[in-house]
Amino acid sequence: MKNQLLLKSAGTMLVRILFAVVAAFPIVFMLVSSLKPDQQIFGDMSSLAAFLPVGNISFDNYAAVFDRVPAARFLLNSVGVSAVTVILGIFVNSLCAFALSRMQVRGKKIVFTAILATLIVPFQTLALPLVWWVNQLPYFELNGFSLEFSKGWLDTYQVQIIPFIANAFSIYLFHQYFESIPKELDEAARIDGAGWFKIYRQVVMPLSGPATATVAILTFLPAWNSYLWPLMVVQSEELRPVMIGIQYFFQLNVSWGEVMAYASLITVRWWSSSSPSSVHSSTASPPAA
């Protein structure tokens, strides 16, 4: 009996390991190959050496990546665009959720329903009309002391940021979380003479760390990974994000070592900003049913 149980749990562990191997082998292959010259990548392919950093190991591919594409610029653009989207997203969405959750605002039910209704529209259906629409929108910039108006947002930073700040799912997450914070706190703060914004900033938000972290990750992930949108709206090289950079590697002779180096670079950069532990805590909250 005991032996049988042991056998069963060993079997389960074997299945676990099998799944782990399948999940990990392409990524290990990518990281390892990024350190090898092309010739060796193909040479190692038929043996386990494909997954081991052995032989002629160097960071040459990484150096070559920075020669071939403006990788530093792309990384900087992506970091900037994602960071601004995340920061503004947290502020705008939590502010909205705060009013919807904790204030007696007339008509808020209708507004909340309308916000949640946006969840049924997949972004892909909006993308193409949106390209046309942002090209009609006005924008102004300060040029010295004069305010200059221009039409069309194509090929700018704001077109990569502003459409993605407000997000119904983020508002929903904040709303759910705010509901769990006792409302008596607000009343106590009000008796002490705090205004609504002060309650938001000094009472509710400091208690909402987990919700903020979740929203930060859920906003960062698509911002960093965005591909379809910048492909269509950004043409200038100096404004492009990292994912578009992959196109540069398929002109003329492809060096797979460099491709793997670039892929590793833009992947590891993002892993480092979202450790697995934060992913687990973020997904621990129950999803919208």
Partner: protein, 324 residues
């Protein structure tokens, strides 16, 4: 002081939302807490930024997309936009590539939905209970999810070559018996190849959703079933599976919508080829809307896509409701 502030127009505030009122205005005001008006003003001030952004970048484009589909609008064009009726749809429904795209997406979705949700559930069950090293396995299972689909596509593009890693592994495992195909170059294997990598990338995400559902099932139910001497399978069939009812429909809907919108992998790996065997609805929409700058035609495709998503999710809701 606060009551002197002018009332701002509130577009969405209906009269019915007022507190239950007497006909006398003064008596009604007496029901309001002090600071009522101030609360309205600050409240709307706080809602406004998000509401305006959603209005500008979701509601308006959605309505625009609907409208543009019936015009001849181009992304950049000196000519004024004209109404052309159903011309775009007539052209769309007589385009064999569009039918091919529909068929490809149907194929992709029909395979992805059961296989990916099933594998994700198996993964969730494997790491549901605490054991030594559980965090290691959770992290590894989640690695593909935090790797962008573009990077994943790039990586698998390399592995799917005729002399690539996948064929080398197949050959090694079969002691040289299997001589793998040129996965992405052959119309028969291109779509299955894309299906495999898509499952590999996204299963971990749905594993997390399943896991949240599994953790929500009370441990007492398992204890009770153990006292009754149920087998593992019976436990799954009569405790776990019914307990996952809500999670199930969530997983189903998210995978389906994701599958119908297939784009990134196609754009990086095959550009719809070979011989249109991997083209999709969204890929066609992007091709016409962006490369050929035909906003109106692309809007028509998007509209058809949206209707398709609505129908499929409505059918799914109906089916999952009927069963239990």
């Amino acid at each position: 002081m606060a009551t002197d502030l002018p009332t701002r127009p509130r577009p969405a505030a209906p009269e019915a939302a007022l507190p239950p009122s007497n006909t006398d205005g003064k008596a009604r005001r007496a029901h309001r807490r002090p600071g009522f008006r101030r609360e309205q003003l600050s409240g709307w001030g706080m809602i406004a930024p998000a509401a305006l952004l959603l209005l500008t970048f979701i509601f308006i484009p959605a309505i625009l997309g609907f409208g543009l589909a019936f015009t001849n609008a181009r992304l950049i064009s000196p000519r004024p936009v004209e109404f052309v009726g159903l011309d775009n749809f007539a052209r769309l429904f007589s385009d064999p590539t569009f039918y091919r795209a529909l068929l490809n997406v149907a194929y992709f979705t029909v395979v992805i939905v059961p296989v990916q949700s099933g594998l994700a559930l198996v993964m969730a069950l494997l790491i549901n209970k605490k054991f030594r090293g559980v965090n290691f396995f959770r992290t590894v299972y989640f690695l593909p999810v935090v790797t962008s689909m573009v990077v994943v596509s790039l990586l698998w593009l390399f592995m799917y070559r005729k002399d690539g890693l996948i064929n080398e592994i197949l050959s090694a495992v079969s002691f040289g018996l299997i001589d793998g195909p040129d996965w992405l170059g052959d119309p028969n294997t291109a779509m299955p190849a894309i299906i495999i990598l898509s499952i590999w990338q996204a299963a971990g995400f749905h594993m997390i959703i399943w896991l949240a559902g599994l953790q929500g099932i009370s441990g007492e139910l398992y204890e009770a079933s153990q006292l009754d001497g149920t087998s593992r399978w019976q436990q799954f069939r009569y405790v776990t599976w019914p307990g996952l009812f809500h999670t199930r429909s969530l997983v189903l809907v998210t995978i389906t919508i994701q599958a119908l919108g297939l784009f990134d992998q196609i754009s990086v790996m095959t550009q719809g080829g070979p011989m249109d065997s991997t083209t999709t609805i969204i890929y066609e929409a992007v091709q016409s809307g962006y490369r050929q700058q035909e906003t109106s035609y692309a809007s028509a495709i998007s509209l058809v896509f949206f209707v398709l998503v609505l129908i499929v999710s409505a059918v799914q809701r109906h089916l999952t409701r009927e069963k239990d």
